[in-house]
Symmetry: C2
Subunit: 339 residues, 2 copies
């Protein structure tokens, strides 16, 4: 792909992002830790199993219903740690600021990071600040990188652990974050009440891990960029097993559904910033759903499908009107700069 | 400062950067680890003393004599770890790419990161990729965040350990990186041979730490953004002691001196990316200089001054022509986007 140029579709979390990562980054940097392709890397530091993950946030606009770039930057990295089975502990925060940004706006973002970190029980312990000329960035980009300690001594979760008959659980409605950001941009004449679901999932993840023995939860993810469809396709790819999901079981808010019908977006590909999807041994489905539903971030939790129901090694959606369709990774471009 | 707007001078590593960090970031995120203000944060992870640091790289142009943004991104974070007394182990790498960047250019940068990491003995274990629209970034920004294990069980280095009579050692000539970048920009009609000094200092740092008992080296830093003057002012601030340095002892390449005379820049404030400055118990001055001079990155190493020679609690330069002047932190703007 060396004659190609980078397009927005290389950044949407779908097929081209995966290709860019595989062919440019993973190939060059190859090592046993990186090659595991989790949301976080498992390090051994003097016998302590440590998880390590990074994310840059380039969302436009900086403030949106339900959150802002600061809340997102903390929650995003906290979530990448906790879905990988870690207790998030420490964050770094690096700011690239476009000349001309108001200090007051920056202070609001920083206050939001402080509050989100405090609620999640993580400390921001080191940082960096760069300023670039007007026009060389879009107001503010934030990178957060996180360190956590593994909840289990050995990292017990991996897509390779997924088995036939396992259940797929989802903690709540999809697409809320993407629709909230879309409305905040003012590009569509939309008067919407949908707020982003942006939230830290570590409290919920810990409760779920406490509920079942190690291995009972095969894998957890937060379906952000690329949406639920992309995450489930990663499960299919990692396990080599097909997954069947039921459209009517997947919670989608009425307003999100309406926006999707208007714009042609598919909620399955829309970004979420406070949702959890996991695959578990089906014996634990009810127990885990009970924990989720009792938690403020899981009130609408549902079992949305099962593993191994199709021999296509694909993600298959059973639609509300009784049809079936294969749901692939996101191929083209959908909605850039949503995280 | 909430009514102010961010200017380029807030990003040059000098006075305004320090004020922004103190008044906006440190105040909001305050915690005992962050408050120590080192180049890296000291974490306790299950009894293992771990150092953690982050840096974003926004250099223009991406390629320059002696290096590129990829080499810089690895070396910069490796250096922040090793001058803090850590053996660098793991890096994350997060890319913000402007739509339209050629994949080939990106591959060159990635190859350079791979080679630099391999030479330094660190692994790039996790990453992130974002793409923003044309005009929303300047080609490519890279964040690297690093994790290392403390060379000493307890972090033994701190500006607070600096004592009267201590020596200030510098590993080589200053200003090379800034001049190489300046020339690569083509803004001045300069035909220069100066290459950036961009290099990983961890090999040299380990040799120096092996040479003396814990505490013999009070503190080490790499004088990047803001230059040697800014780093030495941080030593003055952290120790509450004045430092005297001799202009004629500080190595400055002839070409760098010439560019500074032409442009009005001061080499003391110019960025370096492969230089080490340290304060040591004066008993170890000769031993440490011998180690530095035997290393490929320390051939021009020199003792450039001492602590406590003035009671002003300032950095005082004894000029080549026999005068003295107080050298403060960089106040205005000098050369943006050099790292």
């Amino acid at each position: 792909m060396s004659k190609e140029i980078i397009t927005l579709a290389h950044g949407n979390g779908g097929l081209l992002t995966h290709r860019l990562i595989d062919e440019v980054f993973s190939r060059a940097f190859a090592n046993p830790i990186l090659d595991r392709k989790g949301d976080a890397a498992a390090l051994e530091l003097g016998g302590t199993a440590t998880l390590f993950t990074t994310d840059s946030f380039v969302i436009r606009p900086l403030f949106f219903p339900g959150g802002d770039i600061g809340k997102l930057a903390v929650a995003g990295t906290v979530n990448d740690l906790c879905v990988a089975g870690a207790v998030p502990r420490f964050l770094s925060a690096a700011f690239i600021i476009e000349e001309g940004l108001g200090v007051e706006e920056l202070q609001q973002v920083v206050a939001s990071m402080r509050d989100t970190a405090a609620r999640a029980g993580v400390s921001i312990v080191t940082g960096d600040t760069k300023v670039v000329e007007k026009g060389a960035a879009d107001k503010l980009f934030i990178n957060t990188t996180g360190v956590g300690t593994a909840y289990y001594p050995q990292a017990a979760m991996d897509t390779a652990n997924i088995r036939e008959g396992d259940a797929v659980l989802l903690s709540g409605s999809i697409g809320d974050h993407a629709v909230a950001v879309l409305a905040a941009r003012g590009e569509y004449p939309l008067q919407l009440n949908t707020a982003s679901d942006c939230a830290c999932l570590n409290g919920l993840c810990e409760l779920l891990l406490q509920e079942v023995p190690p291995g009972g939860i095969r894998v957890m993810r937060d379906p952000t960029r690329g949406g639920l469809a992309t995450t489930l396709n990663e499960f299919v790819e990692g396990s080599g097993l097909g997954i069947d999901i039921d459209e009517h079981a997947i919670p989608v808010k009425q307003e999100v559904q309406a926006v999707c019908e208007l714009t042609g977006f598919d909620p399955l590909y829309m970004a979420n910033e406070g949702k959890l999807v996991l695959v578990c041994d089906n014996r634990y489905t009810q127990a885990l759903l009970t924990v989720m539903r009792a938690h403020e971030l899981g009130g609408e939790a549902a079992c949305i499908g099962h593993v191994g129901g199709n021999s296509l090694q694909k993600l298959v959606l059973h639609t509300s009107i009784g049809g079936t369709r294969i749901v692939d990774m996101l191929a083209g471009d959908m909605l850039p700069r949503i995280c």
